[in-house]
Amino acid sequence: MTPVLELRDVALRHRGSAVDAVQDISLAVEAGHSLALVGESGAGKTTLLRLLLGLARPTAGTVRFDGAELSLRDREQMRRFRRSVQCVFQDPYSSLDPRRRVGAVVAEPLRSLGIDTRSSAVPKVAAALDRVGLPADAMDRYPHEFSGGQRQRIAIARATVCHPRVLLADEPVSALDVTTRVKVVDLLAELKQEQGLTLVMVSHDLSVVASLCERTAVLEHGHVVEQGDTAQVLGHPAHPYTRRLIDSVPRLPA
């Protein structure tokens, strides 16, 4: 089967930097097989998501979408790409337009994809907010009037409102308390089950990874040091870094 998204021998070096931020990366995201990216802070996880989103261009290798090389100039492909792929960024606040009310922020994908008018979007926006545990009157307020975890959920509502095929999410539950986190994990599991959503998720919460993703890739210093079935990678880690990661998970007092 053709992967939905694929990185082939990709490297990226930032302008002015002496070393590659990521190097030698080959990853395939198969439809319905969610992939987790885990690894050290600064290892290159966000960089990989930006490459998959076409927001950064690789300095070597290719990014492929539905089997074809991703090209910002191919307008037909870009249209399909935007219709298919949504994302949740690592810093929710800076990704939400501060001058627009939450109702407009969440409706944005529906409006820009030409799926809905302002008024026909309203019930879908209300439903998307409700699914992440926010009241419908949240629509009338501005992003700065919410708490950190509420803003993160606004970003999730926006990314899921138009039923994308693929969701790229960078630490989507990092600001959520456990009870809210369990709700959002359940929501994402439901979208996978019912709509066949494919998830590519960066998370340092290995229990969330274990709950949601069939496959896991472990990054260290810009390299994939290990990838495979989540149960295998987390249950029988082959690389010392993966072992260290698993051993560092803080546990509740007995």
Binding site: V38, E40, S174, S207, L245, S248, P250, L252
Partner: protein, 266 residues
Amino acid sequence: MTFLDVRGLTVRTAEGRVLVDDLSFSVAGGERLGLIGESGSGKSLTTLAVLGLLPSGMTATGSVELAGTQIVGATERALTSVRGRDAAVVFQEPLTALDPLMRVGRQIAEPLARRRGLRGAALRDAVGDMLAQVRLPEPERVSRAFPHEISGGQRQRVALAMALACDPGLLIADEPTTALDVSVQAEMLDLLDSLVRERGMAVIFVSHDLAVVARVTDRALVMKDGRAVETGTVHDLVRSPRAEYTKSLVAGARRLEAALDLRSPR
């Protein structure tokens, strides 16, 4: 000795909506208090109220006494002398707290110059030390980088370094490790532990992660809907939670831990 004493703190919006409701707690010098609770329960607003930093339009009533200064109703001038020296805060979203147009090194240098009177080469060395202390790699590059040129977890450690550079009597850390992988997180918690011991710093540690709070603090306050629903040692909260919300928190945490132990998705 009590360093921070909060009595009947209530925070309202301009329209009169109550966001923090009659909250009372105190922190002794060198003590560590955890603040846990539901998303939107008022944790961040409480920490902002302690420093007189509430968003415009919001009002605080009640009493917040920080190192002998009454914060509620204080003038901006009185607040300026308190901030940094008596209490410094690591904000929840580092990108909003860092100046996007200023190089990271300079942002850390400012409190060091102000608080320790350092200049020139001594200041540059001190900035390097701070970056190394929070385990930032390539301190040279990070120091010259703008906030958007480093990773999320690196920004969070820069924000922590800035607060520590103030050498405050009370460190308020609002979810300071959310963007860190568990191994760097463990290093940061060790760092906090040793600094707090060496310098006798008091800490308010806001976190949604019970296991992390257990690692850093002895006592915790559980919040929901702007109120304190329960307080006690973290050990007791985890072993025998009394409030409904605390019970669901512990059950949720156990469920996630179990998923990790099975290590496969549903």
